[in-house]
Protein backbone atom coordinates (compact mmCIF):
# COMPACT_ATOMS: atom_id res chain seq x y z
CA UNK A 1 0.00 0.00 0.00
CA UNK A 2 1.09 3.54 -0.78
CA UNK A 3 1.77 5.39 2.50
CA UNK A 4 0.57 8.99 2.58
CA UNK A 5 1.86 11.99 4.55
CA UNK A 6 -0.57 13.96 6.73
CA UNK A 7 -1.09 16.52 3.98
CA UNK A 8 -1.67 13.80 1.36
CA UNK A 9 -4.11 12.09 3.72
CA UNK A 10 -6.09 15.32 3.95
CA UNK A 11 -6.36 15.30 0.16
CA UNK A 12 -7.37 11.64 0.22
CA UNK A 13 -10.01 12.29 2.89
CA UNK A 14 -11.59 15.13 0.94
CA UNK A 15 -10.54 18.13 3.04
CA UNK A 16 -9.60 19.97 -0.17
CA UNK A 17 -12.80 19.05 -1.96
CA UNK A 18 -13.96 16.20 -4.17
CA UNK A 19 -11.72 17.01 -7.19
CA UNK A 20 -8.51 16.70 -5.18
CA UNK A 21 -9.93 13.69 -3.33
CA UNK A 22 -10.75 11.83 -6.51
CA UNK A 23 -7.33 12.60 -8.01
CA UNK A 24 -5.52 11.33 -4.91
CA UNK A 25 -7.67 8.18 -4.77
CA UNK A 26 -6.82 7.42 -8.39
CA UNK A 27 -3.09 7.93 -7.77
CA UNK A 28 -3.18 5.61 -4.73
CA UNK A 29 -4.84 2.90 -6.81
CA UNK A 30 -2.31 3.51 -9.58
CA UNK A 31 0.63 3.28 -7.16
CA UNK A 32 -0.67 0.07 -5.59
CA UNK A 33 -0.58 -1.72 -8.95
CA UNK A 34 3.12 -0.96 -9.44
CA UNK A 35 4.28 -1.43 -5.85
CA UNK A 36 4.79 2.24 -4.90
CA UNK A 37 5.48 2.79 -1.19
CA UNK A 38 4.99 6.54 -1.11
CA UNK A 39 4.21 9.59 -3.21
CA UNK A 40 6.87 11.87 -4.67
CA UNK A 41 6.62 15.60 -5.47
CA UNK A 42 6.06 16.41 -9.15
CA UNK A 43 8.13 19.33 -10.48
CA UNK A 44 6.62 19.35 -13.95
CA UNK A 45 3.28 18.23 -15.34
CA UNK A 46 1.90 18.26 -18.86
CA UNK A 47 -1.73 17.42 -19.51
CA UNK A 48 -3.83 16.60 -22.49
CA UNK A 49 -6.87 18.50 -23.56
CA UNK A 50 -8.65 15.90 -25.67
CA UNK A 51 -10.43 14.44 -22.70
CA UNK A 52 -14.20 14.03 -22.63
CA UNK A 53 -15.49 17.29 -21.21
CA UNK A 54 -17.77 15.56 -18.66
CA UNK A 55 -14.82 13.63 -17.24
CA UNK A 56 -12.62 16.74 -17.11
CA UNK A 57 -15.43 18.63 -15.36
CA UNK A 58 -15.65 15.97 -12.68
CA UNK A 59 -11.89 16.14 -12.18
CA UNK A 60 -11.38 19.90 -12.36
CA UNK A 61 -14.58 21.80 -11.60
CA UNK A 62 -13.94 21.91 -7.89
CA UNK A 63 -10.17 22.38 -8.09
CA UNK A 64 -8.97 25.93 -7.54
CA UNK A 65 -5.32 25.72 -8.50
CA UNK A 66 -3.09 22.94 -9.71
CA UNK A 67 -0.34 22.13 -7.23
CA UNK A 68 2.24 21.35 -9.95
CA UNK A 69 3.67 23.54 -12.73
CA UNK A 70 1.52 22.39 -15.64
CA UNK A 71 1.41 22.97 -19.40
CA UNK A 72 -1.29 21.74 -21.79
CA UNK A 73 -0.79 19.46 -24.80
CA UNK A 74 -1.67 20.14 -28.43
CA UNK A 75 -5.26 20.28 -29.65
CA UNK A 76 -7.41 18.72 -32.31
CA UNK A 77 -6.88 20.78 -35.49
CA UNK A 78 -10.62 21.54 -35.59
CA UNK A 79 -10.40 23.56 -32.37
CA UNK A 80 -7.57 25.87 -33.48
CA UNK A 81 -7.75 29.20 -35.28
CA UNK A 82 -6.35 27.50 -38.37
CA UNK A 83 -9.27 25.11 -38.81
CA UNK A 84 -11.11 26.94 -41.58
CA UNK A 85 -7.92 27.77 -43.50
CA UNK A 86 -6.99 24.08 -43.39
CA UNK A 87 -10.31 23.21 -44.99
CA UNK A 88 -11.81 21.37 -42.04
CA UNK A 89 -15.55 20.95 -42.44
CA UNK A 90 -17.46 23.81 -40.75
CA UNK A 91 -19.86 21.50 -38.89
CA UNK A 92 -16.90 19.68 -37.31
CA UNK A 93 -15.31 23.00 -36.32
CA UNK A 94 -18.56 24.25 -34.79
CA UNK A 95 -19.17 21.11 -32.79
CA UNK A 96 -15.60 20.71 -31.50
CA UNK A 97 -15.22 24.41 -30.66
CA UNK A 98 -18.15 24.29 -28.23
CA UNK A 99 -16.61 21.61 -26.04
CA UNK A 100 -13.16 23.16 -26.47
CA UNK A 101 -14.34 26.41 -24.87
CA UNK A 102 -15.60 24.48 -21.83
CA UNK A 103 -12.23 22.73 -21.51
CA UNK A 104 -10.34 26.02 -21.75
CA UNK A 105 -12.37 27.44 -18.84
CA UNK A 106 -11.55 24.39 -16.71
CA UNK A 107 -7.84 24.62 -17.50
CA UNK A 108 -7.74 28.37 -16.92
CA UNK A 109 -9.32 27.95 -13.49
CA UNK A 110 -6.82 25.26 -12.56
CA UNK A 111 -3.91 27.45 -13.69
CA UNK A 112 -2.77 25.08 -16.43
CA UNK A 113 -0.64 26.98 -18.97
CA UNK A 114 -2.28 26.76 -22.39
CA UNK A 115 0.89 26.15 -24.38
CA UNK A 116 -0.94 23.67 -26.65
CA UNK A 117 2.18 21.83 -27.72
CA UNK A 118 3.37 18.25 -27.64
CA UNK A 119 6.88 19.58 -26.99
CA UNK A 120 6.72 21.11 -23.49
CA UNK A 121 10.51 21.66 -23.62
CA UNK A 122 9.88 24.31 -26.32
CA UNK A 123 7.71 26.49 -24.07
CA UNK A 124 9.47 26.72 -20.72
CA UNK A 125 8.43 23.43 -19.14
CA UNK A 126 12.07 22.68 -18.46
CA UNK A 127 13.53 19.44 -17.18
CA UNK A 128 17.00 18.65 -15.88
CA UNK A 129 18.69 15.60 -14.34
CA UNK A 130 16.67 14.34 -11.39
CA UNK A 131 13.54 16.44 -12.01
CA UNK A 132 10.37 14.41 -11.43
CA UNK A 133 7.76 14.85 -14.14
CA UNK A 134 4.33 13.51 -14.97
CA UNK A 135 3.59 14.33 -18.56
CA UNK A 136 1.10 12.97 -21.02
CA UNK A 137 2.55 12.50 -24.49
CA UNK A 138 5.05 9.76 -25.19
CA UNK A 139 7.57 11.86 -27.12
CA UNK A 140 7.91 14.31 -24.23
CA UNK A 141 8.31 11.41 -21.81
CA UNK A 142 11.10 9.63 -23.69
CA UNK A 143 12.91 12.91 -24.43
CA UNK A 144 12.56 13.97 -20.78
CA UNK A 145 14.10 10.74 -19.53
CA UNK A 146 16.68 10.20 -22.26
CA UNK A 147 17.98 13.65 -23.25
CA UNK A 148 17.31 15.73 -20.14
CA UNK A 149 17.95 12.96 -17.60
CA UNK A 150 14.74 13.77 -15.73
CA UNK A 151 12.55 11.05 -14.26
CA UNK A 152 9.03 10.29 -15.39
CA UNK A 153 6.84 7.31 -16.15
CA UNK A 154 4.63 6.43 -19.08
CA UNK A 155 1.76 8.19 -17.34
CA UNK A 156 -1.59 8.14 -19.07
CA UNK A 157 -3.43 11.42 -19.70
CA UNK A 158 -5.63 11.15 -16.65
CA UNK A 159 -2.71 10.15 -14.38
CA UNK A 160 -0.90 13.33 -15.42
CA UNK A 161 -3.99 15.42 -14.62
CA UNK A 162 -4.21 13.78 -11.17
CA UNK A 163 -0.53 14.66 -10.60
CA UNK A 164 -1.06 18.24 -11.77
CA UNK A 165 -3.98 18.59 -9.31
CA UNK A 166 -2.29 17.00 -6.29
CA UNK A 167 1.34 17.90 -7.04
CA UNK A 168 2.45 14.29 -6.45
CA UNK A 169 2.76 10.95 -8.23
CA UNK A 170 3.39 7.46 -6.84
CA UNK A 171 7.14 6.83 -6.52
CA UNK A 172 7.64 3.82 -8.78
CA UNK A 173 9.04 2.44 -12.02
CA UNK A 174 11.40 4.96 -13.67
CA UNK A 175 11.62 7.20 -10.58
CA UNK A 176 13.80 4.52 -9.01
CA UNK A 177 17.42 4.18 -10.22
CA UNK A 178 17.28 0.37 -10.19
CA UNK A 179 14.47 0.49 -12.78
CA UNK A 180 16.39 2.75 -15.16
CA UNK A 181 18.96 0.21 -16.29
CA UNK A 182 18.99 -0.67 -19.98
CA UNK A 183 17.60 -4.11 -20.80
CA UNK A 184 17.98 -4.10 -24.58
CA UNK A 185 21.17 -2.92 -26.28
CA UNK A 186 20.91 -1.73 -29.88
CA UNK A 187 24.16 -1.33 -31.81
CA UNK A 188 24.02 0.79 -34.95
CA UNK A 189 25.98 -0.98 -37.67
CA UNK A 190 27.22 0.02 -41.11
CA UNK A 191 25.40 3.35 -41.22
CA UNK A 192 26.75 6.65 -42.47
CA UNK A 193 25.12 8.60 -39.64
CA UNK A 194 26.04 12.01 -41.03
CA UNK A 195 23.96 11.40 -44.12
CA UNK A 196 20.90 9.86 -42.49
CA UNK A 197 17.74 11.96 -42.72
CA UNK A 198 15.37 12.64 -39.82
CA UNK A 199 13.04 10.05 -41.36
CA UNK A 200 15.88 7.49 -41.39
CA UNK A 201 16.33 8.17 -37.68
CA UNK A 202 12.57 7.83 -37.18
CA UNK A 203 12.66 4.46 -38.96
CA UNK A 204 15.55 3.31 -36.75
CA UNK A 205 13.66 4.34 -33.62
CA UNK A 206 10.47 2.69 -34.86
CA UNK A 207 12.33 -0.57 -35.46
CA UNK A 208 14.05 -0.52 -32.06
CA UNK A 209 10.79 0.40 -30.26
CA UNK A 210 8.99 -2.60 -31.76
CA UNK A 211 11.74 -4.97 -30.57
CA UNK A 212 12.02 -3.30 -27.15
CA UNK A 213 8.33 -3.19 -26.25
CA UNK A 214 8.28 -1.63 -22.79
CA UNK A 215 11.93 -2.30 -21.99
CA UNK A 216 14.62 0.33 -21.39
CA UNK A 217 17.05 0.60 -24.28
CA UNK A 218 20.71 1.56 -24.66
CA UNK A 219 21.91 2.64 -28.09
CA UNK A 220 25.57 2.47 -29.03
CA UNK A 221 27.04 4.26 -32.01
CA UNK A 222 25.45 7.72 -31.97
CA UNK A 223 27.93 10.62 -31.81
CA UNK A 224 27.23 13.30 -29.21
CA UNK A 225 27.32 15.88 -32.02
CA UNK A 226 24.04 14.60 -33.55
CA UNK A 227 21.42 17.38 -33.67
CA UNK A 228 18.61 17.61 -31.13
CA UNK A 229 16.13 17.32 -34.00
CA UNK A 230 17.49 13.99 -35.25
CA UNK A 231 17.52 12.64 -31.70
CA UNK A 232 13.94 13.85 -31.33
CA UNK A 233 12.79 11.81 -34.35
CA UNK A 234 14.83 8.79 -33.28
CA UNK A 235 13.41 8.76 -29.76
CA UNK A 236 9.82 9.77 -30.44
CA UNK A 237 9.23 6.78 -32.78
CA UNK A 238 10.10 4.22 -30.06
CA UNK A 239 6.93 4.61 -27.96
CA UNK A 240 4.81 4.46 -31.14
CA UNK A 241 5.79 0.96 -32.30
CA UNK A 242 6.49 -0.01 -28.69
CA UNK A 243 6.25 1.59 -25.26
CA UNK A 244 9.81 2.72 -24.54
CA UNK A 245 10.10 5.58 -22.03
CA UNK A 246 13.86 5.60 -21.49
CA UNK A 247 16.52 5.10 -24.14
CA UNK A 248 20.08 5.63 -22.97
CA UNK A 249 22.02 7.11 -25.86
CA UNK A 250 25.51 6.26 -24.75
CA UNK A 251 27.56 9.45 -24.60
CA UNK A 252 24.49 11.71 -24.77
CA UNK A 253 22.10 10.70 -21.98
CA UNK A 254 23.32 12.33 -18.73
CA UNK A 255 23.30 9.10 -16.74
CA UNK A 256 24.91 7.04 -19.55
CA UNK A 257 28.44 8.25 -20.25
CA UNK A 258 29.32 4.60 -20.97
CA UNK A 259 27.42 1.44 -21.88
CA UNK A 260 28.38 -0.02 -18.50
CA UNK A 261 26.72 2.93 -16.76
CA UNK A 262 23.57 2.50 -18.90
CA UNK A 263 23.45 -1.15 -17.89
CA UNK A 264 24.04 -0.36 -14.21
CA UNK A 265 27.10 -2.63 -14.49
CA UNK A 266 24.77 -5.53 -15.24
CA UNK A 267 24.24 -7.61 -18.36
CA UNK A 268 21.65 -6.83 -21.05
CA UNK A 269 18.74 -9.21 -21.66
CA UNK A 270 19.26 -8.92 -25.39
CA UNK A 271 21.60 -7.23 -27.88
CA UNK A 272 20.60 -6.41 -31.45
CA UNK A 273 22.33 -4.88 -34.44
CA UNK A 274 20.42 -2.32 -36.45
CA UNK A 275 21.38 -1.05 -39.89
CA UNK A 276 20.26 -0.40 -43.45
CA UNK A 277 18.01 -3.45 -43.76
CA UNK A 278 16.05 -2.50 -40.65
CA UNK A 279 15.54 1.06 -41.93
CA UNK A 280 14.30 -0.36 -45.24
CA UNK A 281 11.92 -2.74 -43.46
CA UNK A 282 10.25 0.18 -41.66
CA UNK A 283 9.95 2.23 -44.87
CA UNK A 284 8.17 -0.76 -46.39
CA UNK A 285 5.82 -1.00 -43.41
CA UNK A 286 4.96 2.71 -43.08
CA UNK A 287 4.59 3.45 -46.80
CA UNK A 288 1.05 2.17 -47.34
CA UNK A 289 -0.02 4.31 -50.30
CA UNK A 290 -0.81 2.62 -53.59
CA UNK A 291 -0.47 5.86 -55.52
CA UNK A 292 2.27 8.48 -55.81
CA UNK A 293 -0.26 11.34 -56.00
CA UNK A 294 -0.13 13.34 -52.78
CA UNK A 295 -2.93 15.53 -51.33
CA UNK A 296 -1.33 16.60 -48.09
CA UNK A 297 2.17 17.04 -46.66
CA UNK A 298 2.34 16.97 -42.85
CA UNK A 299 5.53 18.25 -41.18
CA UNK A 300 6.14 18.96 -37.51
CA UNK A 301 5.35 15.92 -35.38
CA UNK A 302 6.63 16.33 -32.71
CA UNK A 303 6.29 20.08 -33.12
CA UNK A 304 9.03 21.59 -35.23
CA UNK A 305 11.83 23.53 -33.59
CA UNK A 306 12.92 26.89 -35.03
CA UNK A 307 15.83 25.18 -36.85
CA UNK A 308 13.47 22.79 -38.62
CA UNK A 309 11.18 25.62 -39.72
CA UNK A 310 14.20 27.48 -41.04
CA UNK A 311 15.20 24.41 -43.11
CA UNK A 312 11.73 24.13 -44.62
CA UNK A 313 11.72 27.86 -45.43
CA UNK A 314 15.06 27.44 -47.21
CA UNK A 315 13.75 24.47 -49.21
CA UNK A 316 10.60 26.37 -50.24
CA UNK A 317 12.19 29.77 -50.83
CA UNK A 318 11.18 31.06 -54.27
CA UNK A 319 9.29 27.89 -55.19
CA UNK A 320 5.59 27.06 -55.49
CA UNK A 321 3.59 24.23 -53.96
CA UNK A 322 1.57 22.43 -56.62
CA UNK A 323 -2.07 23.42 -56.80
CA UNK A 324 -4.30 21.05 -54.87
CA UNK A 325 -1.54 19.95 -52.49
CA UNK A 326 -1.73 21.16 -48.91
CA UNK A 327 1.45 21.66 -46.88
CA UNK A 328 1.17 22.01 -43.12
CA UNK A 329 4.14 22.84 -40.91
CA UNK A 330 3.19 22.39 -37.27
CA UNK A 331 4.81 24.04 -34.26
CA UNK A 332 4.20 25.74 -30.92
CA UNK A 333 2.81 29.29 -30.90
CA UNK A 334 5.91 30.82 -29.33
CA UNK A 335 8.13 29.21 -32.00
CA UNK A 336 5.75 30.52 -34.66
CA UNK A 337 6.22 34.05 -33.31
CA UNK A 338 9.97 33.72 -33.73
CA UNK A 339 9.64 32.15 -37.18
CA UNK A 340 7.36 34.99 -38.24
CA UNK A 341 9.85 37.57 -36.97
CA UNK A 342 12.64 35.88 -38.93
CA UNK A 343 10.61 35.85 -42.14
CA UNK A 344 10.35 32.04 -42.35
CA UNK A 345 6.57 32.03 -42.06
CA UNK A 346 6.22 34.51 -44.94
CA UNK A 347 8.51 32.42 -47.18
CA UNK A 348 6.51 29.25 -46.48
CA UNK A 349 3.17 31.02 -46.99
CA UNK A 350 4.35 32.69 -50.19
CA UNK A 351 5.23 29.25 -51.56
CA UNK A 352 1.72 28.06 -50.73
CA UNK A 353 2.34 26.26 -47.44
CA UNK A 354 0.80 26.95 -44.05
CA UNK A 355 2.57 27.18 -40.70
CA UNK A 356 0.06 26.06 -38.07
CA UNK A 357 0.19 26.08 -34.29
CA UNK A 358 -1.42 24.49 -31.24
CA UNK A 359 -2.39 21.21 -32.93
CA UNK A 360 -1.68 17.51 -33.24
CA UNK A 361 -1.74 16.25 -36.82
CA UNK A 362 -1.09 12.61 -36.07
CA UNK A 363 -4.65 11.53 -35.31
CA UNK A 364 -6.47 13.68 -37.78
CA UNK A 365 -9.90 12.11 -38.34
CA UNK A 366 -10.97 11.56 -41.94
CA UNK A 367 -14.30 13.11 -41.09
CA UNK A 368 -12.65 16.47 -40.74
CA UNK A 369 -11.03 16.80 -44.12
CA UNK A 370 -11.01 15.12 -47.51
CA UNK A 371 -7.56 13.57 -47.89
CA UNK A 372 -6.65 10.24 -49.48
CA UNK A 373 -2.85 10.28 -49.46
CA UNK A 374 -0.71 12.02 -46.92
CA UNK A 375 3.08 12.43 -46.99
CA UNK A 376 5.16 13.01 -43.88
CA UNK A 377 8.68 13.02 -42.41
CA UNK A 378 7.32 11.80 -39.05
CA UNK A 379 7.04 8.12 -38.12
CA UNK A 380 4.36 9.12 -35.60
CA UNK A 381 2.15 10.68 -38.26
CA UNK A 382 2.81 7.75 -40.62
CA UNK A 383 1.75 5.30 -37.91
CA UNK A 384 -1.24 7.11 -36.40
CA UNK A 385 -2.94 8.89 -39.31
CA UNK A 386 -4.15 5.67 -40.96
CA UNK A 387 -5.26 4.38 -37.54
CA UNK A 388 -8.54 4.87 -35.73
CA UNK A 389 -11.31 6.45 -37.82
CA UNK A 390 -8.98 7.70 -40.54
CA UNK A 391 -8.34 5.50 -43.56
CA UNK A 392 -5.68 7.77 -45.05
CA UNK A 393 -2.82 6.13 -46.95
CA UNK A 394 0.69 7.23 -46.13
CA UNK A 395 3.99 8.10 -47.74
CA UNK A 396 6.94 8.36 -45.36
CA UNK A 397 10.29 9.94 -46.24
CA UNK A 398 12.76 12.71 -45.54
CA UNK A 399 11.82 16.37 -45.13
CA UNK A 400 13.53 17.09 -48.46
CA UNK A 401 11.50 14.39 -50.18
CA UNK A 402 8.28 15.73 -48.64
CA UNK A 403 9.03 19.26 -49.89
CA UNK A 404 9.97 18.01 -53.38
CA UNK A 405 6.65 16.15 -53.39
CA UNK A 406 4.79 19.28 -52.36
CA UNK A 407 6.18 21.07 -55.40
CA UNK A 408 5.52 18.35 -57.99
CA UNK A 409 2.48 16.72 -56.34
CA UNK A 410 4.12 13.35 -56.95
CA UNK A 411 6.02 11.25 -54.43
CA UNK A 412 9.67 10.97 -55.30
CA UNK A 413 9.79 14.61 -56.42
Amino acid sequence: MVKLTDEQNKMYDGEYGPGVQKAMAMLVKYGDIFGAECMIKVDSAHVDIWGPVEVLSQMLEVVDQARAFTTVHSLKPSTTKWAMGMGIRPEVVEQDTKTHEKRVKLYQKAGFLRAFTCAPYLVGNMLRPGTIFSQAGTSGIIIGNSLFGARGNRDAVNAAICSAITGVTPKMLLHRPENRRAELVAQLQGLDLKNLSTADFGALGYYIGAVAGLRNVAVVGIPSSLSFEKLKYFLSAMPVSGGVSLCHIVGVTPEAPTLEAALGNGKPQETIEVGKNEIEEIYQRLNTAKTDQVDLVCLGCPHYTISEIKSVAQLLDGRKVKEGVRVWVSTADSVYTLAKRMGYVDIIEKAGGLVVTDMCMSSMPALEIDVKTSATDSAKVAHYQPGADVGVEMLYGSTEQCIATAITGKWGG
Binding site: M26, K29, Y30, I33, F34, D48, W50, G51, P52, V55, A136, G137, T138, I141, N153, R154, D155, A156, V157, N158, A159, A160, L173, G213, L214, P239, V240, S241, G242, G243, S363, H383, Y384, G387, A388, D389
Partner: protein, 141 residues
Protein backbone atom coordinates in the same frame (compact mmCIF):
# COMPACT_ATOMS: atom_id res chain seq x y z
CA UNK B 1 -8.76 -24.27 -14.94
CA UNK B 2 -8.30 -21.74 -12.12
CA UNK B 3 -5.63 -19.05 -12.42
CA UNK B 4 -4.46 -16.74 -9.63
CA UNK B 5 -3.18 -13.24 -10.37
CA UNK B 6 -2.85 -9.68 -9.08
CA UNK B 7 -5.54 -6.99 -9.09
CA UNK B 8 -5.23 -4.10 -11.53
CA UNK B 9 -8.82 -2.95 -11.05
CA UNK B 10 -11.46 -4.59 -8.86
CA UNK B 11 -14.73 -6.00 -10.13
CA UNK B 12 -16.31 -9.17 -11.49
CA UNK B 13 -16.76 -10.00 -15.15
CA UNK B 14 -17.51 -12.98 -17.34
CA UNK B 15 -17.67 -13.69 -21.02
CA UNK B 16 -15.97 -15.19 -24.02
CA UNK B 17 -12.21 -14.71 -24.23
CA UNK B 18 -10.55 -12.95 -27.16
CA UNK B 19 -6.79 -13.43 -27.13
CA UNK B 20 -4.02 -11.46 -28.85
CA UNK B 21 -0.28 -12.09 -28.69
CA UNK B 22 0.52 -8.44 -29.46
CA UNK B 23 0.97 -5.41 -27.14
CA UNK B 24 -2.15 -3.25 -27.51
CA UNK B 25 -3.01 0.44 -27.73
CA UNK B 26 -6.55 1.81 -27.49
CA UNK B 27 -5.28 4.56 -29.81
CA UNK B 28 -4.89 3.28 -33.34
CA UNK B 29 -5.52 -0.43 -32.75
CA UNK B 30 -9.20 -0.11 -31.80
CA UNK B 31 -11.93 1.47 -33.89
CA UNK B 32 -13.88 3.31 -31.21
CA UNK B 33 -17.08 3.45 -33.27
CA UNK B 34 -17.30 -0.34 -33.71
CA UNK B 35 -15.17 -1.91 -30.96
CA UNK B 36 -13.21 -3.76 -33.65
CA UNK B 37 -9.47 -4.11 -34.10
CA UNK B 38 -8.73 -2.38 -37.39
CA UNK B 39 -4.97 -2.68 -37.91
CA UNK B 40 -3.98 -4.56 -41.04
CA UNK B 41 -2.03 -7.70 -40.22
CA UNK B 42 -2.97 -7.58 -36.50
CA UNK B 43 -3.76 -11.04 -35.10
CA UNK B 44 -7.27 -9.78 -34.21
CA UNK B 45 -7.85 -7.81 -37.42
CA UNK B 46 -11.58 -7.36 -38.02
CA UNK B 47 -12.59 -8.91 -34.69
CA UNK B 48 -14.59 -7.12 -32.00
CA UNK B 49 -13.56 -6.74 -28.36
CA UNK B 50 -17.06 -5.60 -27.37
CA UNK B 51 -18.53 -7.50 -24.43
CA UNK B 52 -15.62 -9.94 -24.30
CA UNK B 53 -12.78 -10.68 -21.90
CA UNK B 54 -9.75 -9.25 -23.66
CA UNK B 55 -6.52 -11.21 -23.03
CA UNK B 56 -3.25 -9.66 -24.23
CA UNK B 57 0.40 -9.33 -23.17
CA UNK B 58 0.62 -5.63 -22.28
CA UNK B 59 0.14 -2.08 -23.60
CA UNK B 60 2.09 0.14 -25.95
CA UNK B 61 1.86 3.46 -27.77
CA UNK B 62 -0.04 6.65 -26.93
CA UNK B 63 -0.76 7.90 -23.41
CA UNK B 64 -4.18 9.12 -24.53
CA UNK B 65 -5.53 5.54 -24.34
CA UNK B 66 -7.96 6.12 -21.44
CA UNK B 67 -9.81 8.88 -23.35
CA UNK B 68 -10.22 6.72 -26.46
CA UNK B 69 -11.37 3.83 -24.30
CA UNK B 70 -13.88 6.17 -22.62
CA UNK B 71 -15.36 7.08 -26.00
CA UNK B 72 -15.71 3.37 -26.77
CA UNK B 73 -17.33 2.88 -23.34
CA UNK B 74 -19.95 5.58 -24.04
CA UNK B 75 -20.82 3.67 -27.23
CA UNK B 76 -20.90 0.33 -25.38
CA UNK B 77 -17.93 -1.00 -27.34
CA UNK B 78 -15.44 -1.91 -24.60
CA UNK B 79 -14.43 -5.37 -23.38
CA UNK B 80 -16.19 -6.30 -20.12
CA UNK B 81 -12.98 -7.56 -18.52
CA UNK B 82 -9.24 -7.52 -19.26
CA UNK B 83 -6.36 -9.88 -18.48
CA UNK B 84 -2.72 -8.99 -19.19
CA UNK B 85 0.52 -10.87 -18.84
CA UNK B 86 1.93 -7.76 -17.15
CA UNK B 87 0.21 -4.40 -17.21
CA UNK B 88 1.90 -1.04 -17.92
CA UNK B 89 0.75 2.41 -16.76
CA UNK B 90 -1.47 3.39 -19.70
CA UNK B 91 -3.53 0.18 -19.80
CA UNK B 92 -3.76 0.30 -15.97
CA UNK B 93 -5.38 3.74 -16.24
CA UNK B 94 -7.67 2.54 -19.05
CA UNK B 95 -9.01 -0.06 -16.60
CA UNK B 96 -9.22 2.25 -13.56
CA UNK B 97 -10.86 5.17 -15.35
CA UNK B 98 -13.33 3.04 -17.28
CA UNK B 99 -14.09 0.67 -14.40
CA UNK B 100 -13.05 -2.45 -16.29
CA UNK B 101 -12.29 -5.41 -13.99
CA UNK B 102 -8.70 -6.40 -14.68
CA UNK B 103 -5.97 -8.75 -13.42
CA UNK B 104 -2.36 -9.38 -14.44
CA UNK B 105 0.68 -11.43 -13.33
CA UNK B 106 -1.22 -14.74 -13.35
CA UNK B 107 0.51 -17.94 -12.28
CA UNK B 108 0.46 -19.02 -15.95
CA UNK B 109 0.90 -16.71 -18.93
CA UNK B 110 -2.69 -15.96 -19.96
CA UNK B 111 -1.91 -15.42 -23.65
CA UNK B 112 -0.52 -18.98 -23.75
CA UNK B 113 -3.13 -20.89 -21.73
CA UNK B 114 -6.30 -19.01 -22.66
CA UNK B 115 -7.64 -19.37 -26.22
CA UNK B 116 -10.14 -17.24 -28.09
CA UNK B 117 -13.56 -18.76 -27.48
CA UNK B 118 -12.84 -20.06 -23.96
CA UNK B 119 -15.36 -18.87 -21.35
CA UNK B 120 -13.91 -16.71 -18.56
CA UNK B 121 -15.28 -15.92 -15.11
CA UNK B 122 -13.08 -13.46 -13.27
CA UNK B 123 -13.16 -11.75 -9.88
CA UNK B 124 -10.41 -9.14 -10.14
CA UNK B 125 -10.68 -8.08 -6.46
CA UNK B 126 -10.30 -11.71 -5.32
CA UNK B 127 -7.52 -12.14 -7.94
CA UNK B 128 -9.11 -15.28 -9.41
CA UNK B 129 -9.75 -16.22 -13.06
CA UNK B 130 -11.74 -19.32 -13.99
CA UNK B 131 -11.23 -20.60 -17.53
CA UNK B 132 -13.80 -22.96 -19.04
CA UNK B 133 -12.19 -24.41 -22.15
CA UNK B 134 -14.13 -24.30 -25.36
CA UNK B 135 -14.21 -27.87 -26.68
CA UNK B 136 -13.09 -26.64 -30.10
CA UNK B 137 -9.87 -25.46 -28.47
CA UNK B 138 -9.01 -28.91 -27.08
CA UNK B 139 -7.40 -29.67 -23.75
CA UNK B 140 -5.48 -26.92 -22.00
CA UNK B 141 -1.67 -27.18 -22.20
Amino acid sequence: MILKGKTVNEGKAEGEAIVSKLPFSFVGDLEVASGKVIVKGHDLEGQSLKGKIFVFPTGKGSTIGPWFAYQAKVLGNLPTGMICTEVEPVIAMVAIMNEIPMVHKLDKNPVEVIKTGDYIKMDAGAEVVEVVKNKRNGVSP
